[in-house]
Amino acid sequence: MKTVLRLFAFVIVLSLILAGCQQAEQGPATVRVLAMEQAGPTVDEMNSIVAEFNEENPNVEVVIEYVSYDALHDKITTAMASSPPAYDVFLVDDIWYAEFADAGYIWDVSDKITPEMQENIFDAAWDITVVQGKTYGMPWLLDQKYFYYNEEILNQAGITEPPKTWEEMVEQAKVIKDQGIVEYPIVWSWGQYEAAICDWVTLLYGNGGSLVDDAGNPAFNDAKGVETLTWMLQSIDDGITNPASVSYVEEDVRNVFSQGKAAFATNWVYMYDLVNFNEDESQVTGKIKMSLMPAFEGGGVVSATQDGSMGFSIAAESPAKEVAWDYIEYLTSEDVQNRYSAHLLPIWKTSFQGEQLETLMGYTESNKTTVPMFSEQFPYSYVRPKVTFYPEASKALQLALQEALTKSKSPQQALDDAATKWVSFME
């Protein structure tokens, strides 16, 4: 009996102590950050930016967590359900801005943007975080899909120039395959993820097609769209596309390409440094080049690619909004962005101008290639539509691509079905 009472007293005392701890917390303001570990700066780089900031700002403590890209959206929406939200700052893909602004999750930071920022950052970068005239965050990652090729494989096959069109790519791939240099010359990220949409948009716009028309109605199921999807299917049947692409995301593409098992690949800018300079990660260092993303001969465009940019935003309900902004401002500042430019390029126009350009190119070995490549490719970069129902519409489109690629529906049927769903989401 006595023991029980003592135990009971102990539990009460313990809970009082724990409750006391909660209130006694008077240290630095905490800013909880959610970022991603995928297709961008490495965790080490992100952590060291946080460490720099914490060092310079003793009154703030930034705590950062990482998830994969495909878990990010859902992690944010669940975190926003609690009060105060589980994160003060989070990374937002350009396709989620409309949804999050509409849901009231993100803080309007329009009056934080200085004229200098407005002037010196790319307009295309501002397009990421601006919804209906209001700015909901700082652009951070200005990325697009790039075309990569393994020069050694091309040389072995007697090819001197990388392909300028997808038709040329197919011809070169056939030569490479016939000579038995690699089994499947190109690898893509066509798995049932957002990654599939990124490759699909690249091909679709390169064929003169478009996801939606000017009125926002689905246009991807027109003749151009069907032609593009049929081409994808054909490239699997011809043994040019690695058939496992249907289950792959960008990291799988990087792994296959890094093993020298593919001559061509499309990926974000982060792959270049890892595949060409990092010997722990790649067996083909020094052999990888980038060139302008090909387009289709009948597409009427020189090149087309997918703009996959992201920004950092602050939770509207966060108790630490002001200090959170300080961190974002630091993270996206020109200096930090220049210094950490190996796996993402700055959003600052000024970084690409005059003497600054020389400095930027000198930061890392890979910047010598990626910086000029960015400027060359960026005019041909297409964004996905900013709609509040994007995740659901995208999943319908991913399903359509997969149904066609696994031959459970014809390309026309699959795309028509996705278009019908898209229209129903618009209502």
């Binding site: 009971f8 859902d74 849901a103 049932q192 289950s247 509207a316 997969q402 696994t406 459970s408």
Partner: protein, 305 residues
């Protein structure tokens, strides 16, 4: 504390009751708080057109979400896939688990090591298990292709996860690897408690080993099998994490099970009302499954004790 000491006039039994209630009160509060409250609010939400987002007004739909789902072919396709997953994985697990349990029960040399090593697949968290199998199945650098190629069974790498039906069966395989130990351990424990006299008597009466297994051992194991089946069926029917990791529902929705669909609707698409209705349908179906098992397998009047 003072209040407790003040009630000295109570009998020892009454005091024990009060203390007991006081002691379980915190857990009761927690159980009601974290189990009952979410269930009730989910039920409530399932009658509304509710979206994720702050400051939204929910529109009352009555049974609208449920009727919508029941009329949606995607829902029924998903139910079919989930039933396939459940039947095949639990079926194979039961047969394999029973086999392994009997093997351990026969105490062959090294049976203790076998029993201890059985724990490993089961102790591995499902997420880790899923990641492991995702790597094993990888078409370009996975262990499965490497193994089959070296054994000469295939002559070139096969992309395993690109056909919906194949992908489903491979996810099932990963689930079986993870869960067989659970059934094997339950059945092995049950076997160890069975009276040996019955089998000896049957042997004396001239029953073959097969007859002894089928007519003596298996009926005695019925209660243990029931427990294993109920737990595993309910688990398998609600399978989520292993699919999230290995295929994310692909290819072409070929591995989207009912829990995965619920997750997509609720967290990816933000249709909380519809997602809540789905959760409730899952609960109803799992309850039905458990009821069916108990109805057909649990017969207390036959217990031989």
């Amino acid at each position: 504390m003072a209040a407790l000491r003040g009630k000295t006039s109570l009998t020892l039994r009454q005091r024990d009751t009060i203390i007991g209630l006081l002691l379980i009160a915190p857990s009761l509060v927690i159980i009601f708080g974290i189990v009952l409250q979410p269930i009730l609010s989910t039920l409530y939400l399932s009658f509304f057109d509710a979206d994720l987002g702050l400051g939204r007004t929910n529109i009352f739909l009555g049974l609208g979400n449920y009727l919508d789902l029941l009329a949606d072919p995607v829902f029924w396709e998903t139910i079919q896939r989930t039933l396939y997953f459940t039947l095949v994985s639990v079926g194979v697990e039961l047969v394999l688990g029973l086999g392994i349990a009997q093997l351990i029960h026969a105490h062959p040399p090294g049976w203790r090591i076998l029993r201890a090593s059985l724990i490993i697949p089961w102790a591995v968290p499902t997420i880790v298990n899923g990641t492991m199998w995702r790597w094993i199945y990888n078409a370009d650098y996975g262990a499965l292709n490497g193994l089959l190629l070296q054994l000469g069974i295939i002559d070139k790498y096969i992309p395993w996860l690109t056909k919906p039906f194949t992908a489903m069966n491979l996810v099932i395989l990963a689930d079986i690897w993870h869960s067989v130990p659970f059934i094997a351990l339950i059945l092995q424990a049950a076997l160890a408690t069975l009276p040996e006299e019955l089998e000896e008597a049957a042997e004396v009466d001239g029953a073959t080993p097969w007859q002894r297994f089928w007519f003596v051992r298996l009926p005695l194991l019925r209660a243990a099998i029931l427990v294993a089946l109920v737990i595993r069926t309910v688990e398998a029917f609600r399978v989520f994490d292993i699919i999230y990791v290995i295929t994310a529902g692909g290819p072409a929705f070929g591995t989207v099970t009912i829990s995965y669909l619920t997750y997509l609707e609720t967290f990816s698409f933000g249709n909380v009302g519809r997602g809540s209705a789905l959760s409730f349908l899952i609960s109803i179906i799992t309850l039905l499954l458990a009821f069916i098992y108990i109805r057909f397998l649990y017969r207390p009047e036959e217990r031989m004790e």
